[in-house]
C-alpha cells in the first residue's frame, strides 16, 4: 500500500474530489467500480460491549432470574390459592351435636334433607358415626371406645358451581327443625386463606418491582460509566454532526441488546429451574413430602401463564434497560453540555 494519496490532478476532472471518476485505477491495481455488497459491518458507534458491558449483562441476568423466581412463586401461590379458595367456597359443613332425648341419626337425616331442599345445593353427604369417630383419631388416638362420648356428626354439603345458596334461610330452617345443628360456610377460613395468599402475592410483586428498580439503577451506573469511558467517541460524534438524540439512540440500542441478552439468560435459567423443580416434585409425588408439597402448591407447575409472566419480565427488564440508558445519556449530555 502506497502511503501517499493519489494526486487530485492525476484523475480529477475538475469537479469536486468526490466527483472523481470511479473508473480511476486504484493504487493496488484492483479493478475499480465494483463495490462489495455492504462495506459496513453494522458496527455499533458506541462500543459498550466491553468487559463492563458483559458485567452489566451478568447483573441483569441475575436480577431477571430473581425477579422471574419471585413472579413465578407469586403465580404459583396465586394459582394454588385460587384452587384452595374455589374448593373451600364450593363446600359448607353442617355440624349436628347430639341432643338429649333426640336421635342423632334422625337429626342428621333431617338436616341433610333440609340442605338438599335448598336451591343451589348439589349434594349433602352425611358422615357416618364411624367416619366421624375416625376424624377424632389423630387427636385422641386409636382403639378408644367413643360410644360414651357425644361425638358430633358432620354433613358435607357441596354447592352447585356459580350459585350462591341462601345460607340465611338454611340456617333458619336448621335451627327450627334440628336443634343442635349449625351451619359453617367456611367464610372465616376462606377469608384467612385469601389474606395469606394475597399477602404472599403482594410480597412477590413488591420483590419484582424492587428487582426492576435495582436493574434500572444498575443500568444507570453502567450507562454513566460507558458515557464517561466513551467521552471521546461522543465528542467525535458531536463534531461530525450527530445530535444528542442520535447519540442517545445509539446507546439505547446497545444497552437494549445487552439487556435483552442478560434478561434472556436470567429468564431462561429461571424457567429451567422451574421445570427442574416440577420434574423433581413429580418424582417425589408418591412420598409423604411430595404429598405435602402437592397439597400446598398443587402440581408445582406455573403453567403457560407463569411462563408468559417470566418472558414478560425478561422483556420488561430489556425495555427498562433501553429506556433508562436513553434517559441517562440525555441527562448526561445535558449536564456536560
Amino acid at each position: 500500500m502506497s502511503d501517499s494519496p493519489r494526486s487530485p490532478s492525476a484523475h480529477s476532472n475538475g469537479s469536486h474530489p468526490k466527483g472523481a471518476s470511479a473508473k480511476a485505477t486504484q493504487p493496488g491495481g484492483r479493478e475499480p467500480g465494483r463495490l462489495p455488497a455492504s462495506l459496513r459491518r453494522n458496527a455499533p458507534l458506541v462500543p459498550v460491549d466491553s468487559a463492563g458491558g458483559r458485567a452489566l449483562a451478568a447483573v441483569i441476568a441475575i436480577l431477571t432470574f430473581l425477579a422471574a423466581l419471585c413472579a413465578g412463586g407469586a403465580e404459583l401461590v396465586a394459582t394454588s390459592s385460587s384452587q384452595w379458595r374455589s374448593d373451600v367456597a364450593r363446600e359448607v359443613t353442617i355440624q349436628v351435636r347430639p341432643q338429649t332425648g333426640r336421635s342423632i341419626d334422625a337429626d342428621v337425616d333431617r338436616a341433610a334433607s333440609l340442605a338438599r331442599q335448598t336451591p343451589g345445593i348439589e349434594s349433602a353427604q352425611a358422615f357416618t358415626k364411624a367416619e366421624s369417630e375416625r376424624l377424632l383419631e389423630p387427636w385422641l388416638g386409636t382403639g378408644l371406645d367413643f360410644g360414651d362420648l357425644p361425638v358430633p356428626r358432620l354433613i358435607v354439603v357441596k354447592l352447585q358451581p356459580d350459585v350462591k345458596p341462601d345460607f340465611g334461610a338454611l340456617r333458619q330452617a336448621l335451627s327450627a327443625g334440628v336443634p343442635g345443628a349449625t351451619l359453617d360456610d367456611h367464610a372465616l377460613w376462606a377469608s384467612r386463606l385469601s389474606t395469606m395468599a394475597n399477602t404472599i402475592i403482594g410480597i412477590g410483586v413488591v420483590l419484582v418491582v424492587l428487582v426492576l428498580v435495582a436493574a434500572g439503577l444498575a443500568v444507570t451506573f453502567a450507562t454513566r460509566g460507558a458515557m464517561a469511558g466513551n467521552r471521546e467517541v461522543v465528542d467525535v460524534l458531536h463534531f461530525v454532526g450527530a445530535n444528542d438524540d442520535y447519540i442517545a439512540r445509539e446507546f439505547q440500542r446497545r444497552f437494549f441488546r445487552l439487556g435483552l441478552r442478560g434478561s434472556a439468560m436470567g429468564a431462561g435459567a429461571a424457567l429451567a429451574l422451574t421445570i427442574l423443580l416440577g420434574a423433581l416434585a413429580g418424582s417425589w409425588r408418591a412420598s409423604p413430602a411430595g404429598d405435602q408439597i402437592e397439597a400446598l402448591f398443587g402440581s408445582f407447575g406455573i403453567g403457560w401463564r407463569g411462563y408468559g409472566i417470566v418472558v414478560f419480565i425478561a422483556l420488561i427488564v430489556a425495555l427498562i434497560t433501553a429506556l433508562v440508558s436513553r434517559l441517562t445519556v440525555r441527562r448526561f449530555l445535558n449536564e456536560t453540555g
Binding site: M1, S2, D3, S4, P5, R6, S7, P8, S9, H11, S12, S15, H16, P17, K18, A20, A22, A24, Q26, P27, G28, R30, P32, L35, S38, L39, R40, R41, A43, P44, L45, P47, E232, V233, D235, V236, L237, H238, F239, V240, G241, A242, N243, D244, Y246
Partner: protein, 234 residues
C-alpha cells in the same frame, strides 16, 4: 497582499466566520486569547499559525463551538452563536468539516465506516453513500485500506482518513489542525494540493500549522497568533 485563493465575492453572503473582540479564559486563569477580531470569508483560504501553545487549537475549537468565548461576539454562517439551540449547533457543525491534530478516528470502526460517519449520523442509508465514500477513499489513496481498523493504519493513512471524513459532507468550512504534522514533506505537499482543490470547489479552508515550509508554498492570508492576540498578514 491579496490572497491568491480568495474569491472576489466582495458583496454577497455573510462571512463564514466572524469574531469580534472575542476573549477566552479557562476558569479563573488569564485570558489565553483576547480581542480577536477577524472574519473568514466564503471560499477563502488561510493559514492559522503561531508558536506552539499560542492558542491555534483553542481558536479552532472556538469556531467548532466546543469552547465558548468568555466575551465577544462569534457568528458562524451569519448566525450569532451566543444563544443557539442544540439543534442549531448540530446544523452548524454539519456545515463544517474538521481534521483533528490527533485524527480522532474511532478505533472500533473501519476506515470506510470512519469516513462514512458524518453521513451515517445524518441518518442516510448506506446504499445512498457507499459509492461516494469508496470513491473518496480511493481518491485519497486508501482504496485498499477501507476495511482496516485505524490502529493498524500508518500515521499518513490516518491523516488521509481523517481528511476524507472531513471532506465527505462537502463542508462549507474546513478546519484542519496541523494536517501535515505527521507526514513527510512530499505527502504534505500532496495533502495541501487536496485542500487547494477543495477550496477551488467552494469550501473555506483554515489550516492551523506552524510549518513555514508548508505555508511558503501558498500566497494566502495568514492569521498569526502570538501572546493571545491575532495578527492578520494579508
Amino acid at each position: 497582499m491579496k490572497a491568491f485563493y480568495d474569491s472576489d465575492f466582495d458583496e454577497g453572503p455573510a462571512p463564514t466566520v466572524h469574531f469580534e473582540n472575542v476573549g477566552v479564559r479557562y476558569g479563573m486563569g488569564p485570558e489565553v486569547l483576547r480581542d480577536l477580531t477577524f472574519s473568514i470569508e466564503p471560499h477563502s483560504f488561510q493559514f492559522l499559525t503561531g508558536p506552539s501553545g499560542a492558542g491555534k487549537t483553542t481558536l479552532l475549537r472556538l469556531i467548532l463551538l466546543s469552547v465558548r468565548p468568555t466575551r465577544g461576539l462569534v457568528s458562524l454562517f451569519g448566525q450569532d452563536v451566543s444563544k443557539i439551540s442544540k439543534a442549531e449547533l448540530t446544523d452548524l457543525r454539519r456545515r463544517m468539516g474538521v481534521v483533528f491534530q490527533d485524527f480522532r478516528l474511532l478505533d472500533h470502526l473501519t476506515t470506510y465506516e470512519n469516513v462514512a460517519l458524518p453521513l451515517r449520523v445524518q441518518g442516510k442509508e448506506e446504499a445512498s453513500y457507499r459509492a461516494e465514500v469508496v470513491e473518496l477513499l480511493r481518491w485519497v489513496g486508501l482504496g485498499d485500506r477501507m476495511h482496516v481498523l485505524p490502529p493498524v493504519l500508518s500515521g499518513g493513512e490516518k491523516q488521509r482518513a481523517a481528511i476524507a471524513r472531513a471532506l465527505i459532507v462537502r463542508p462549507e468550512l474546513l478546519l484542519a489542525d496541523e494536517p501535515t504534522g505527521n507526514v513527510d514533506p512530499s505527502l504534505a505537499r500532496r495533502l495541501l494540493r487536496l485542500f487547494i482543490e477543495l477550496n477551488r470547489l467552494g469550501t473555506s479552508v483554515v489550516i492551523a500549522t506552524h510549518d513555514f515550509s508548508l505555508m511558503d508554498q501558498l500566497n494566502v492570508r495568514r492569521l498569526v497568533l502570538g501572546d493571545g492576540q491575532l495578527h492578520i498578514d494579508e
